[in-house]
Amino acid sequence: MCNVYLVLAYGLFWGIFMVYAWVIHGRQQRLEKELEELKKEVGQR
C-alpha cells in the first residue's frame, strides 16, 4: 500500500499548495495593513 513515490507525489503536491496559500495569505495581510495605515494617514490630512 505505502509506495514511496506515491507518498512523495501527494506530499509534494499538497506541500506546493500549502506554500502558495501561505504566500497569498502573507501578501493579503501586508496589503490590508498598509491599506489601513494609508486610510488613517489620508483621512487625517
Binding site: 509506495n3 507525489a9 503536491f13 501578501r27 496589503l31 489620508v42
Partner: protein, 231 residues
C-alpha cells in the same frame, strides 16, 4: 459573486470536494494491474495538467480582453490565471517524474509531450517575470498580454502531441482511439478530482483578484498621500 457564493463557502466546498476526491482515489478506484499503487499518481497528475492548460487558455482570453478593452479586470484575470496556473503546472512537472521513475525506469525524457509541458511551464514563468521586472505597469500588462496570446500556441500542440507523435508518455485516455480508455470507476475518480481542482483553481483565482483590487486601492491611496504631501 461574493453575495451568492461567498469565499468562505467556496473554501468549504473546495475542501469537501477534495476530501471526496481523495477518498475516491484511494478507496474507490481499483488498483491498476501492471503499475500497482503508484498509478494513483495519475489522478492528480492528469487533473493538474488539464487545469494548467485551462489556466493558459484563460490567460489567452484575459490577454485578448485586455488588449481589446484595456480593462484592468481583464489584466488581473489573466495575471491571476498565470499565477495559479504556474502552481498547477509545477505540480505536473513534480508528479510526472515521480510516476515515470518506477514505471519507465527514468525520471525524464525529452519527448514531445514532456518537452512541450516544460515549455508551458517556462511560458508561465516568462509571463510572471515580465509582470515583475517591467517597471511601468501599463507596459508590463501589454507585454504580458502579447506573451499570453503568442504562448497559447503551445497548448493545442501539447494536447495533440501524444496523438501526432510517438512518445514515451502514454497515449491519451480520452479520444485516444482503439485500446484507450479507463475502468469506469477510474473515470469517476478522475473527473471528481478534476472538478475539485477546478474548484480550488477558481478559489485561488478569486483570492488573487481580491489581492489585485487591494493593490490598486493601496496604489491609489499612495498617490493621494503623495499629492497631499506635495500641496
Amino acid at each position: 459573486m461574493n453575495k451568492f457564493f461567498p469565499p468562505t463557502l467556496h473554501l468549504i466546498v473546495t475542501y469537501a470536494w477534495l476530501m471526496v476526491a481523495t477518498y475516491l482515489i484511494f478507496f474507490y478506484a481499483p488498483q491498476e494491474a501492471t503499475m500497482g499503487e503508484v498509478q494513483r499518481i495519475f489522478y492528480i497528475h492528469v487533473s493538474s495538467a488539464w487545469t494548467a492548460m485551462l489556466a493558459y487558455f484563460l490567460i489567452f482570453l484575459g490577454s485578448i480582453g485586455y488588449l481589446w478593452k484595456r480593462r484592468d479586470s481583464a489584466d488581473d484575470f489573466a495575471n491571476g490565471a498565470a499565477e495559479v496556473g504556474f502552481v498547477f503546472c509545477t505540480c505536473v512537472l513534480v508528479t510526472g517524474p515521480l510516476w515515470a521513475k518506477p514505471v519507465w525506469g527514468i525520471w525524464w525524457t525529452w519527448d514531445a509531450r514532456l518537452t512541450l509541458t516544460f515549455v508551458l511551464w517556462l511560458l508561465f514563468v516568462a509571463y510572471l517575470m515580465l509582470r515583475s521586472y517591467v517597471i511601468n505597469p501599463g507596459r508590463a500588462a501589454v507585454l504580458a498580454a502579447v506573451v499570453g496570446i503568442i504562448g497559447f500556441v503551445d497548448v493545442p500542440i501539447n494536447y495533440m502531441a501524444i496523438r501526432w507523435w510517438r512518445t514515451q508518455h502514454p497515449q491519451p485516455v480520452i479520444a485516444g482511439g482503439e485500446g484507450s480508455g479507463l475502468d469506469p470507476r477510474m473515470w469517476v475518480a478522475l473527473f471528481v478530482t478534476w472538478g475539485a481542482f477546478l474548484c480550488l483553481f477558481a478559489y485561488l483565482l478569486r483570492q488573487y483578484m481580491r489581492l489585485a483590487a487591494l493593490g490598486r486601492e493601496v496604489a491609489h491611496l499612495r498617490r493621494l498621500r503623495g499629492l497631499s504631501q506635495g500641496a
